[in-house]
């Protein structure tokens, strides 16, 4: 059971391994805080839609399952969007159209189709939670690196020394691609080292 949760964190990390859900990943990570908020919103949607889909999996005819999943997901996204607008207006404004775009985040439909529609509620819940947390962690890492180099802060706190020259490119679109590309490479290096070590044993 625990495995269903942990696999999303590392082995099947949605961003570094599966390379899913790229649009919000790249777009909102100019600051660590935005990455965190987007991660939480996505986690909420993936967990609640996975639970609901797992609940109704026996009643849904196979032919119409994709449209049904999409409608369920869109409903939860609407809820998340309205919640952000009502309670965290600044963040909602900064994230802009990328909150509604969670609807087409392939991670969520991917989980629904590959896991929740075939497994019971508890397992689907853990699986979705793991994916959500893995996604959030990746967003925070990416956001922190970009914020650190691009603005000299992390989560809004100044960390760099006084005379630090900001790398403006990091907060621009080009910086997002470059950072993620290098992070994916780093992830692969660490992963292959770990596999080698495990192989030696």
């Amino acid at each position: 059971m625990i495995k269903e949760f942990t696999k999303g964190l590392w082995k099947e990390n949605p961003i570094f391994v599966q390379v899913l859900g790229m649009c919000p990943t790249l777009a909102v990570t100019t600051k660590a805080l935005f990455g965190f908020s987007m991660g939480m919103a996505t986690t909420f949607v993936v967990v609640s839609s996975s639970v609901v889909i797992s609940l109704i999996r026996r009643f849904v005819p196979r032919e119409v399952r994709i449209p049904m999943f999409t409608v369920i997901i869109a409903t939860f996204v609407t809820a998340a969007d309205y919640f952000l607008k009502a309670n965290l207006y600044q963040i909602s404004k900064a994230l802009g159209p990328y909150v509604p775009l969670i609807v087409v985040n392939c991670i969520i439909l991917g989980r629904a189709e590959a896991f929740a529609s075939k497994n019971n509620i508890a397992r689907s819940f853990l699986d979705a939670l793991g994916m959500g947390v893995g996604f959030t962690c990746a967003l925070i890492i990416l956001g922190s690196v970009r914020e650190l180099l691009g603005s000299g802060t992390v989560f809004g706190y100044a960390v760099m020394w006084g005379g630090f020259t900001k790398w403006v490119i990091m907060v621009l679109p080009a910086g997002a691609f470059l950072t993620l590309g290098l992070l994916v490479g780093l992830f692969n290096v660490i992963n292959s080292r770990m596999v080698k070590k495990a192989g030696c044993k």
């Binding site: 899913l20 990943t25 609407t78 509604p100 775009l101 691609f177 290098l182 994916v184 292959s192």
Partner: protein, 195 residues
């Protein structure tokens, strides 16, 4: 002048505010399908077609159904259903009328439903309060920009087959870094349109 404004929207959507390289919309197909020139052109054309169509249909639905009956909170659910059924419809239509075109574009059409560029397009259209004509042009421009980025990337990746890339960066890593460089190059166009 209205024509001038339309041309501005077209160029902005296609080049200066390229959907892939500045809004990060449609990255999944951008990474997945950009390893072959042929499929890149096919997907680009299919997406341009669906984008233009989706922009016009969702505009009409938004203005004459959602706004009129005060149902704007159903916006996301409605848009995604409209886009999904539109893609399905286009697929059936092309299969019946032109088997050749279907052969060329058919396999890409189902992919388009989950392409966030389409939903993103309709959301931007509502946010910016475009008129009907502006929306159609915006859809067309976004499609052209999408095709442009995809084809450029496919061209580079075909050459890359022969390059010596560090093991860890092969595949996704190098594609993302290349996209970053392309985005840098596209920033050069930024001065064309002010504001």
């Amino acid at each position: 002048m209205i024509i001038e404004e339309l041309i501005l929207i077209l160029i902005a959507a296609a080049i200066t505010n390229n959907f892939i390289l500045t809004y990060f919309l449609g990255i999944c197909p951008f990474i997945g399908v950009s390893n072959k020139m042929e499929s890149a052109v096919g997907l680009g054309l299919a997406t341009t077609f669906v984008m233009t169509l989706a922009a016009s249909v969702t505009w009409l639905v938004y203005q004459y159904v959602l706004v009129k009956f005060n149902l704007v909170f159903l916006q996301y659910v409605t848009f995604i259903i409209v886009i999904a059924s539109l893609v399905q419809f286009v697929e059936m239509f092309i299969r019946k009328t032109s088997p050749q075109l279907y052969k060329a574009l058919g396999i890409f059409l189902p992919l388009i439903t989950t392409n966030c560029a389409i939903l993103g397009l309709t959301l931007f259209m509502v946010l910016r309060k475009y008129s009907f004509l502006e929306s159609v042009i915006f859809g067309l421009g976004a499609g052209i920009g999408f095709t442009l980025a995809l084809v450029l990337m496919a061209g580079i990746r075909e050459e890359l087959e022969f390059a010596d890339i560090p093991e860890a960066l092969k595949g996704t890593g190098i594609t993302l870094i290349l996209a970053g460089m392309l985005a840098l190059a596209f920033m050069g166009f930024g001065g064309i349109i002010s504001g």
